[in-house]
């Protein structure tokens, strides 16, 4: 039995002990414990070292707001989760946790030496000190600072867990399952609404879980929770999500929830994901997010054993753990009295309740009850400091006189110092939804104001003081939200609740200290980022007035806890220092996530093979069997080359290129975008869109089309065939398919509503096999029927319908290699077999499958451009050498006015030309710059760049395309490509290197 565990009571399961390990030592707790509760039960208060000063830190809170007790949970080498709050980790058999930010050990930490130099680590220290020399920042300062400061270590191995995601919709989403949230969910459900209720804890009940003696509708609170939970669980229209944090609010009631599914299990089943990210779209949202108790700010307030009063109460009532033997209670709100009463009843000696308020403000029911119970109470007190090293051992109290003077009052021995500075409503999500906040001066905190979206707040977040008020507020919000969402009314249940009232208001800021005296220790405002009152005062002295600036200068509120316990105290302190009211100082912005969310849950299933759709063409399996090498082109897997035996890339590509030039090659062109443009005005539509004149294109013929953007720059290209008067088959680049389709649809719907035309994507309807080479016709001849393949009947740029191997075929006579070429389109389900049939029939003609690499070389030998490689979004058709495609007689097309701009007509624009290296064996680097003269000093006068560069096997030399200023006029000139070690001389040539008169094409 652990020393500090009570003999009975609490919500833990004493019949199920669990063993766990913290920093190499074994401990025992019970099912239902958090790691913090189980360690406290064993008397462990020292859990970590602070971020900046490496000060010993313990457990401040009992929930999500915990700033100090951050630990790493280790399952195995790949499963290390740093920076988890010990107050939220459920213990399980075999749990292994480690403290952070200490070396070599938690008790003896060399980093604590920072504390000795604390005077030299004021606010803005890093900004001021490590600015110069600038080069040292990346090399020296940043790595060292990160190593010294880092909270926890990320695992170095890929995350082996699965993460799931899902979308959900509901009428009413209730965030928080405390009394108000449970009442709200019940209210909304009673009106028949679809309800989702989520809570970050493993069990519902919220603040009730830490209450003793509360009753609701004549039931003990614990029984009421069970009954309420059962009623909701039995309703098929209600989804209950424990262990689920609503971490972010996104526009229009889209709320992000993170459900933790297996973190609490000793042996997680392989079938379960670790977490599930929910994207909930709710008609109405209710924030029943409660309130968080504030620490008091005084010197030495960060010692282990200094704890929120509500946390001590929670550990006792919920977990059966005494947080110490002898407590001093600093009361800045009545909540401290309620804690003192419970602790006294639970066997903890209460040395004194030191109320930091004036006598008149310490008169609530809780204070009266404490006095009636015989607890010692003093008012007008302040805390001047604490003693102890790794655990508080005493507190030095002062008394505030009527004139504001402070004199020492007493030094009391204690092993736990409880404090309550009042409560801060958890307005995070309300504020994220752009809801207004109002400062409630009487309560001493910001409370929700007008909502900006269809949301409402209920219960503690609205600073309700009593259990009855919270329940009533929740029930009313529940039925109101259901009515707003569904139109169905229901009466709000009237709860009869009994719980001694403890008013929760307080005064944010720091406790008064003697004027002029140097405090004996730092008074921490932000525990996680080690920000003290001195830092805030320094920031003000240095001229920072806005809280947004003070926040960034001091980093207060910028830690992973986002200032849950510190924000309002920082505001209160700055307000007091500058003699302003808190709302005048302003408020920093709340941002998601409420508590940290794993990267895994955001990534979800989008990793590895499922990161993105992996699109395969009909020839894919055949290529795999042949040992082909693939490359990624957008989402597509395309065959790059087909190595034979141990062939290198260069050898394979040379062989494939020569095969096309000498015999015949086959290539899977299925990825090309295809759009069927149909309608009476199809030709008019394409005339307006493309630069070409389509009116003159006869059915059965095709033409190379160019699409520009408004500004006149080349956007896409492809062969367009006219299948009938009112039907065109448009091909696009592989990568441009979706955006060209979108552009067309945009023009049809918004600009040219007068046209009778429709577009349909047929990219995936057709498998396309390019058959290129002098023997292409011979291969086809034995396979097709219903088509006359002769040059007269099917000349270059003609299209015909027929059958291949008995299945329907659309046959294009086109070439992207400069050889006699066909593109065989078959319905895609026939693609794989057609591919295999052509390959088999081609054996007699030495057919060679080729990939994208050879395709690139072949087209470059012919000077055919690739949009996006030889053009870059700043090239006009003339720049790219394809101005011949423009229909000169056309009155307009997209980009025509753009092309008329003077700058686009200058003769010194970059133009696409060929480059031939003087040394034919040198292959230029794609992207290399081109200069006019050799040996230039930096900065060189660059006049262009290489866009494509290959070894051409048929020419036995290298070839390149380049965009050169005034390039065509430089034909014959020698230019230079500066590379490390040498300037490579090149000669400017026309961009067509092979078969300039096109005899092979028209064969």
């Amino acid at each position: 039995m652990s020393r500090f565990r009570t003999t009975r009571g609490g919500r833990i399961d004493r019949s199920r002990p669990v063993r766990f390990r913290f920093d190499g030592r074994d401990y025992e707790g019970f099912a239902g414990d958090t790691l913090a509760a189980a360690l406290l039960a064993s008397g462990v208060h020292l859990l970590g070292r602070s971020f900046k000063y490496h000060r010993p830190r313990g457990i401040l809170a009992a929930g999500a707001e915990e700033p100090n007790a951050l630990v790493t949970v280790v399952r195995d080498a790949a499963r290390r989760t740093p920076n988890l709050r010990a107050t939220q980790i459920e213990v399980y058999e075999g749990l292994v946790a480690e403290s952070q930010n200490r070396w070599p050990s938690l008790a003896l930490d060399v980093g604590a030496v920072n504390g000795l130099f604390a005077a030299f680590l004021p606010a803005g220290f890093y900004n001021k000190t490590f600015m110069w020399p600038r080069s040292a920042w990346h090399a020296l300062y940043e790595p060292r600072i990160r190593a010294a400061a880092g909270l926890g270590v990320a695992p170095g191995l890929p995350d082996p867990d699965r993460y799931a995601q899902r979308y959900a919709h509901c009428d009413v989403l209730v965030v928080g399952a405390g009394p108000a949230g449970l009442a709200a969910a019940a209210g909304a459900a009673s009106a028949g609404a679809r309800v989702i209720l989520c809570d970050e804890q493993h069990e519902f009940g919220g603040s009730l879980l830490a209450e003793r003696g509360a009753t609701i509708d004549a039931m003990a609170a614990a029984d009421w929770i069970v009954a309420q939970h059962a009623a909701l669980a039995s309703n098929p229209r209600v989804t209950l999500l424990p262990r689920t944090t609503a971490f972010g609010y996104f526009p229009h009631n889209n709320v992000g929830l993170c459900e933790r599914i297996t973190d609490h299990l000793a042996r997680p089943p392989a079938a379960l994901p670790r977490e599930r990210l929910w994207q909930v779209r709710a008609r109405e949202v209710i924030f029943a997010t409660g309130a968080i108790e504030r620490p008091l700010v005084f010197p030495g307030n960060d010692r282990p054993g200094v704890m929120l009063a509500s946390a001590a109460r929670s550990y006792l009532n919920r977990y059966g753990v005494q947080v110490g033997s002898r407590a001093v209670v600093l009361a800045g709100s009545d909540a401290a009295y309620a804690a003192a009463l419970d602790l006294a009843a639970g066997g903890v000696a209460i040395a004194l309740i030191a109320d930091v308020r004036e006598p008149g403000r310490a008169q609530g029911p809780a204070a009266t009850a404490a006095r009636d119970a015989g607890l010692a109470v003093e008012t007008s007190m302040t805390a001047l400091g604490t003693s102890g090293r790794r655990r508080v051992s005493g507190v030095h109290l002062g008394r505030v006189g009527n004139d504001g003077s402070i004199r020492p009052a007493a030094s009391l021995r204690c092993d736990v110092l409880l404090m309550s500075g009042g409560y801060t409503p958890s307005v995070h999500l309300h504020s994220q939804s752009r809801g207004k906040l109002e400062f409630d001066a009487a309560f001493g905190a910001f409370v929700p104001g007008t909502a900006a979206e269809r949301t409402r707040c209920a219960g503690g977040v609205r600073a309700t003081h009593t259990l009855g008020a919270a329940l009533e507020d929740g029930a009313a919000a529940g039925v109101a939200a259901a009515l707003a969402a569904t139109g169905h009314a229901a009466a709000a249940h009237r709860y009869a609740a009994r719980l001694p009232e403890a008013r929760l208001e307080g005064t944010p800021g720091a406790l008064p200290q003697p004027a002029g005296a140097v405090p004996p220790a730092k008074a921490f405002v932000d525990f996680q980022n080690d920000v003290t009152t001195r830092d805030l005062a320094l920031a003000r002295r240095e001229g920072f007035e806005s809280i947004e600036h003070i926040k960034r200068y001091t980093t207060t509120g910028m830690a992973t806890d986002q200032g849950k316990t510190s924000g309002l105290n920082a505001l209160g302190f700055v307000a007091a220092e500058s003699e302003r009211r808190i709302p005048e100082v302003g408020l920093t912005t709340y941002r998601m996530p409420y508590t940290p969310v794993t990267f895994g849950s955001f990534a979800g299933v989008a990793r590895g093979e499922l990161f993105d759709p992996l699109r395969k063409t009909p020839s894919h399996d055949w290529v795999v069997a042949q040992g082909g090498v693939f490359e990624d082109v957008g989402q597509w897997k395309r065959t790059r080359y087909f190595p034979l035996g141990g062939e290198s890339l260069r050898a394979a590509v040379d062989r494939e290129c020569l095969a096309v030039r000498q015999h015949v090659g086959m290539f899977d062109a299925s990825t090309l975008g295809k759009i069927e443009v149909v309608g009476r005005d199809a030709a008019t539509f394409l005339n307006r869109l493309y630069v070409n004149n389509w009116s003159t294109l006869a059915p059965g013929r095709a033409r190379y089309g160019i699409l520009l953007r408004d500004d006149g720059f080349v956007y896409d290209d492809g062969v367009v065939a006219r299948l009938a008067e009112d039907r065109f088959h448009v091909t696009t680049t592989t990568g441009g398919a979706a955006r060209v389709f979108g552009m067309m649809e945009d023009y049809i719907q918004t600009e040219w509503t007068d046209l009778s035309v429709w577009i349909t994507s047929t990219t995936e309807q057709w498998a396309v096999i390019a058959l290129q080479g002098p023997r292409a016709r011979d291969v086809l001849a034995g396979l097709v029927s219903g088509v006359d393949l002769s040059p007269a009947a099917l000349p270059h740029m003609a299209v015909a319908h027929g059958r291949i191997c008995g299945v329907p075929m659309m046959l294009f006579r086109v070439s992207f290699s400069g050889e006699l070429g066909f593109e065989i389109n078959v319905p895609a389900d026939y693609g794989a077999e057609t591919w295999a049939a052509i390959h088999a029939a081609g054996q007699a003609h030495r057919i060679t499958p080729y990939g994208t690499e050879a395709m690139h070389v072949l087209r470059a030998e012919k000077g055919y451009i690739i949009v996006g490689q030889d053009t870059d979004g700043t090239m006009t058709p003339d720049d790219a050498g394809v101005a011949w495609a423009i229909g000169k007689a056309k009155s307009d097309f997209v980009g025509k006015r753009g092309l008329a701009r003077a700058a686009l007509r200058r003769p010194d624009r970059k133009q696409l030309v060929g480059l031939a290296t003087v040394d034919p064996g040198v292959v230029l680097e794609e992207g290399a710059q081109v200069v006019a003269t050799p040996g230039q000093a930096v900065p060189l006068q660059m006049i262009g760049h290489v866009t494509s560069s290959y070894h051409s096997p048929v020419l036995g030399r290298s070839i390149a395309l380049a965009a050169i200023v005034g390039g065509r006029a430089r034909t014959g000139q020698t230019l230079y490509v500066p590379m490390p070690g040498a300037d490579i001389p090149v000669q400017v040539t026309p961009p067509v290197f092979y078969d300039r008169d096109g005899a092979r094409l028209n064969a």
Binding site: A164, H169, E764, Q765, G806, D829
Partner: protein, 181 residues
Amino acid sequence: MPETLQRRPPPVEGRGWLEPLPAATRFSFRGGSGAIEALSRAYGVPLPTAACRAASAGPRAALRLGPDEYLLIAPAAEGASLAPMLATALGSLPHSLVEVSHRQVAFAVQGPYAEWLLQSGCPLDLDLGPFPIGMCTRSLFHKAEITLWRTGPTTFRVEAWRSFAGYVVELLADSALELPA
């Protein structure tokens, strides 16, 4: 000449919650009211006038996917005869009829967890109230476009473009790991 080739859609492996559906004949039909009437008569299925609703008669179905856009789904065997028949019926009425039989692959997601499985990647509300039997729409499943048609209380017909089908099925299978055996 080789024998006529067999139609082979991308394989989809059946499992309890997933049933591959047979290859089909599909057309994307666009047109105004005159063409819609003519097509309804010829096709034998009155094209639905309500948004995002499907109608069927025997093995033929029509899904209204946009203001003037319908997806026609018919048995594969009707492929050769249907196209000329519909084209004749439509005549010179303004319309677009494009065959997309092979563009997409169909399978049914079925059983008590059908909705739950689809909600893992589809952002629409698939509850029987807002997404009743007979409702159909284009939507997303993670990063892939799908066409979704609820054919029963716990049955959805899912159509995905052929190169996206594997992605959609694999992601569904990932979710299905959680299903009770």
